[in-house]
């Protein structure tokens, strides 16, 4: 059965048209990832309108290619200009740029390209191995659990995506509110249309996403007139040739760094809200701690390029695991991918892999293939990148704004969607200016309907509200959501040296031991006992250190 599905998926992907589209997708991703100010999410969301007319597997394969290309594109500008193309490649510049400056740009690029490839392939393996297993756990979820899972995803995204938790939570709640405008999904009653018939259809969420993310980003990019007229390569002439063999040898010698960093990337990707921007810094930090020459980091140490590039490419594998297994997007880009699935009438849920096995395996295969295409195209795209760096920012912004309107109109052939793009572009711009993170709002918009439908289903089954707190999985997600909400406070308190932070981790462990015990069976109560025992040990150690202090 699995073999049949894989063969059918291969047939969906391995045709000339899809492969050509994937190559275009990787190229577009590489270029957009390489341009500072143009995020990967923006590239993916702008690709979405092109995929409407395609079959679901082809459309998703194209979007996956943009995603993989975008993750690798950031390294080009980071290494050659010292300006990271995306937040996921910030740490790459720490050693990549000094290495390029010291006369080895080809080696630095080679390290980046091959580390990205290795990270992507490792995460692709993890995706294939873990997504089906995790989805089996997901099948245990009832509406109460699923509702609490959405709440957990929103809370953790809010706590990780900004300096101010309250602003993150407000953004998430605003996203949920935006989704309630128009006819409700369950019984079709008009809500918040203020007498306007056009608003009955609600805001098209792709127009909302493009407005919030792409439109507002472009406005921010051209806000400063001088910066808008500048091009990336104004300061110096960019010239490099990727040194493949030397880079491969260096990476093979440092294989532990590659695997450790890729695992950090996958784990960070699985957590909703924690994306490549966190993973590359974490992996860099761990590589420095594990190195015998930590002082050489920042001066052009090859490991300083290998670690962040392996991890940021592995992130999307992790984010896709959560999306495909549980129907919850791991980050903004997978939230957009989830939107693409909805456009093709595929509802992401824990049963996605079993209900749509061919589509699921098509995504797995596309993710694998895209990494190989990325590897093959890097050398060629480097030349295009050099040309793109000569284009002024305002030109790119104006052309993309013009394109956005065509793309948004094409969704439903409704002019109102372009107005939606404008209003949410303005809203997104002001939210950026006032320090509100956009990721929780985007997740709120994407998950709003899912949350409401599950709430509705839960009350259709039983009007007992306590089930939201007493069912094992619902309780598990509630506990993790509460602890993630306190996480920013924990971080601040740890920086200030407060004593209570020593009890944060053991209390979390002790708390999650309760729902694990309630789940029954053999493995989970066993895990619960381990958690409880470890929590007791940590509390004992924490008490001892408090007494000594």
């Amino acid at each position: 059965m699995v073999i049949d599905n894989i063969l059918l998926a291969v047939a969906e992907i391995a045709n000339v048209k899809t492969l050509a589209l994937m190559m275009v997708g990787v190229a577009a991703g590489l270029i957009s990832g390489a341009i500072p100010g143009f995020t990967i999410a923006m590239a993916v969301v702008l690709t979405l309108p092109f995929t409407f007319g395609m079959p679901p597997a082809q459309g998703l394969a194209t979007m996956v290619s943009v995603l993989v290309g975008g993750l690798s594109g950031g390294l080009m500008s980071g290494i050659l200009t010292g300006i990271p193309g995306t937040p996921s490649s910030v740490a790459t510049t720490f050693d990549g740029f000094p290495l390029a400056r010291s006369g080895e740009p080809g080696f630095a690029l080679g390290l980046g390209v091959w580390s990205s490839f290795c990270g992507g392939i490792i995460s692709a393996f993890m995706l294939v191995m873990f997504a089906p297993r995790l989805s089996r756990i997901g099948l245990e979820f009832q509406p109460w659990d699923y509702f609490m899972l959405v709440m957990f995803a929103l809370t953790v995204t809010a706590s990780l995506s900004g300096r101010n938790l309250i602003k993150g939570l407000i953004a998430g709640a605003l996203g949920l509110l935006v989704r309630t405008v128009g006819e409700d999904e369950a019984i079709g009653m008009a809500r918040f249309n203020f007498g306007n018939d056009t608003l009955l259809q609600g805001f098209d969420f792709i127009a909302v996403l493009i407005g919030l993310f792409a439109f507002s980003q472009l406005l921010s990019d051209v806000r400063d007139p001088e910066a808008a007229r500048r091009s990336l390569a104004e300061r110096e002439r960019i010239q490099a040739r990727i040194e493949h063999w030397r880079a491969i040898k260096a990476i093979v010698k440092r294989w532990t760094t590659v695997i450790r960093s890729a695992l950090i990337g996958v784990f960070t990707g699985i957590l909703p809200g924690a994306g490549g921007s966190i993973a590359n810094i974490l992996a860099y930090d761990q590589a420095r701690k594990a190195s015998k020459q930590p002082d050489s980091f920042g001066t052009g140490n090859p490991e300083g390029v290998i670690a962040p590039e392996s991890s940021n490419n592995a992130v999307e594998g992790g984010a896709l695991i959560t999306m495909m297994a549980l129907g919850i997007p791991g980050d903004v880009t997978t939230a957009i991918m989830l939107g693409a699935l909805l456009i093709h009438d595929v509802v992401p849920s824990p049963s996605f892999i079993s209900d749509e096995p061919v589509l699921a395996y098509s995504i797995f295969i596309a993710f694998f293939l895209a990494n190989f295409i990325m590897l093959g195209m890097q050398s060629f795209m480097l030349r295009i990148f050099v040309l793109v760096t000569r284009i002024r920012m305002y030109m790119l912004a104006a052309v993309i704004l013009g394109f956005s309107t065509i793309g948004v109109f094409a969704i439903n052939n409704v002019e109102f969607d372009i107005w939606t793009l404008l209003w949410f572009g303005i809203l997104g711009f002001f939210m950026r200016q006032f320090g509100f993170p956009l990721a929780p709002m985007i997740l709120g918009v994407v998950l709003g309907n899912i949350a409401e439908l599950n709430l509705s289903r839960a009350f259709a089954i039983s009007d007992d509200v306590t089930l939201f707190f007493t069912r094992p999985w619902a309780l598990f997600f509630l506990i993790v959501a509460l602890f993630s909400a306190v996480f920013p406070l924990f971080q601040n308190a740890r920086a200030e040296g407060k004593k209570w932070v020593r009890f944060y981790a053991p209390t979390l462990l002790a708390a999650i031991a309760v729902p694990l015990w309630m789940m029954g069976g053999t493995v989970r109560p066993g895990l619960s006992l381990i958690c409880a025992g470890f929590a007791a040990y940590l509390i004992y150690k924490a008490r001892q250190s408090v007494v000594e202090a």
Partner: protein, 166 residues
């Protein structure tokens, strides 16, 4: 000294939004069927949003007149200063509204080319050489994209009164 800062103003605005939406939630019809009333979920969100906004307001008021982390020295002063600071953004908004308002007449092809051309000139400059370059970019980019969607993807884009006359 006033204790109101920018965050406090945003928090008050959010509370007003919550109030308006909560009031509007009473206009939602409540049918006899269905287990979850159509107004329940929006009201839950609004209560949470109002509570969060209230906490945000208290936080903002407690912090004082200006956020400590912000450098206000480079903020624009006066109407002229503000206008020149936000010049490019205002151009984008203004031209976009103009583009959308004239779309029924100009259509997406002519309107799109005009919008991109004017925006390029507004952001990049109006010198003769730039005008020619901007015209080429606008024509090729919008024309190319319009062709991809019209002929490649089969999407019927708004033609406008002018275009449909031919």
């Amino acid at each position: 000294m006033t204790r109101i800062n920018r965050d406090a103003v945003i928090a008050i605005f959010l509370l007003l939004v919550c109030g308006v939406f909560f009031w509007a939630s009473f206009d939602i019809r409540q049918p006899d069927y269905g287990t979850l009333k159509p107004s329940t979920w929006p009201r839950v969100i609004l209560v949470v949003l109002a509570l969060l906004s209230l906490i945000y307001l208290v936080q903002s008021l407690a912090r004082g007149p200006e956020p400590a982390h912000e450098d206000i020295s480079d903020r624009p002063h006066g109407l002229h200063g503000r206008l020149s600071h936000w010049r490019n953004v205002l151009w984008c908004f203004g031209l976009f509204v103009l583009y959308l308002s004239t779309m029924p007449i100009l259509g997406m092809l002519i309107g799109g080319i005009c919008f991109v051309f004017l925006l390029l000139c507004a952001l990049g400059g109006w010198q003769p050489r730039q005008l020619a370059l901007h015209a080429v970019i606008a024509g090729v980019a919008v024309g190319g994209m319009w062709s991809v969607f019209t002929y490649g993807l089969g999407v019927i884009l708004p033609t406008g009164v002018i275009f449909s006359a031919f």
